[in-house]
């Protein structure tokens, strides 16, 4: 059968993929929305699931994936020298923008080392929110490194647990060694309005990047 291409794995092609019968339903095919993906990342316990739940129209859903990687060259997973398989959990939510557009928000697994094995999770993402907890900034360093190294646009959301704002945005920026271009927003991960504002900061950031290169 003739499938568009394996490039779909990296989310690069908008083509419809379908079985034989789809030929008879071309009109209907146009009625499915587009899906866009935003990642909500950050270290263990920084409020990823909380933020996904705050902005999602459904309670966060939970699923798992089996990840497998051949042992050759797996030097970041000490002690593993044969085929490595693990189960990684993920939770996600949804925001229906319109009949034509749905945003899926993925709370990424806390252990970033698995992201490298899970291409489907990060490929094709519109961008990411990295949440940090001011009391434990270091747990989110790896997330920031990851998106920087992959060239995936991101914003930083500073989750102010219990309203603790004992450090200024500038201090946090410095501690994170954040690129001055990367927006940093203070928020409460439990608050829908705050979650929305963090996502809007991401979209504005993407739009600014867009006009910077085209204009």
């Amino acid at each position: 059968m003739d499938y568009a291409s394996s490039e779909h794995a990296s989310g690069h092609s908008p083509d419809h993929v379908s079985g034989r019968a789809a030929d008879h339903t071309a009109g209907r095919a146009g009625t499915a929305p587009l899906a866009v993906k935003i990642l909500v990342a950050g270290g263990f316990g920084v409020g990823k699931t909380t933020m996904v739940g705050a902005v999602s129209e459904v309670a966060p859903l939970h699923t798992e994936e089996y990840l497998t990687r051949a042992g050759v060259g797996v030097d970041d997973l000490e002690g593993v020298d044969s085929k490595f398989t693990t189960t990684v959990a993920l939770d996600f939510g949804r925001i229906t923008i319109s009949d034509d557009l749905v945003v899926y928000l993925f709370g990424t697994p806390g252990q970033e080392r698995f992201w490298f094995m899970w291409n489907d999770l990060v490929s094709g993402a519109m961008g990411a929110v990295v949440l940090v907890d001011t009391r434990r900034l270091e747990v989110s360093f790896a997330s920031i490194d990851f998106f920087e190294s992959r060239g995936i646009p991101f914003v930083v959301g500073v989750n102010c647990f219990h309203g603790v704002r004992d450090r200024t945005a500038e201090e946090i920026r410095a501690a994170l060694a954040l690129d001055p271009q990367v927006p940093l927003v203070l928020c409460d991960a439990r608050d829908r309005g705050d979650g929305r504002d963090v996502l809007l900061a991401l979209v504005d950031h993407l739009m600014a990047g867009q006009s910077a290169t085209t204009g």
Partner: protein
């Protein structure tokens, strides 16, 4: 008109499934590389009677998927509902797409090497978020 999948189970697959690889006849890796977490899959509104009968001989999970996807659903949502790992869910969905019961729409291409998101889509997302 009744949808041909009416009566298929679209409730939560509640009991923990203990035979994940039996469902896929031992297959552990999806053959189709075009199904991603956010590929939207939809059960076709009409299939031949013969095809409708054939699906009754498939795994119960296949029928559950067809029931779930009368409205477009992301692969990851189907996995969550079925309580099956994403890769196994992809195998089952792949079976159904291959045999013409479902069609799949790939996600909007947004980030590519050196590329940037489509401005129209960004504006639509921004306007939608503002209404939250």
């Amino acid at each position: 008109m009744r949808h041909w999948t009416e009566g298929f189970d679209d409730g939560d697959a509640d009991e923990q499934l203990v035979r994940p690889y039996t469902i896929t006849s031992g297959r552990t890796t999806p053959e189709r590389s075009d199904l991603t977490l956010v590929t939207l899959v939809t059960t076709l509104p009409e299939v031949s009677t013969q095809a409708a009968l054939a699906v009754r001989r498939m795994q119960p999970e296949h029928r559950t998927i067809l029931g779930l996807c009368r409205e477009p659903r992301a692969v990851v949502e189907v996995a969550a509902k079925l309580r099956l790992p994403v890769s196994l869910t992809k195998i089952l969905i792949g079976d159904l797409v291959d045999s013409g019961y479902m069609w799949a729409r790939s996600p909007q291409p947004l980030t590519r090497a050196g590329g940037l998101p489509d401005m129209t889509i960004l504006e639509a997302v921004r306007d939608g978020l503002r209404k939250l």
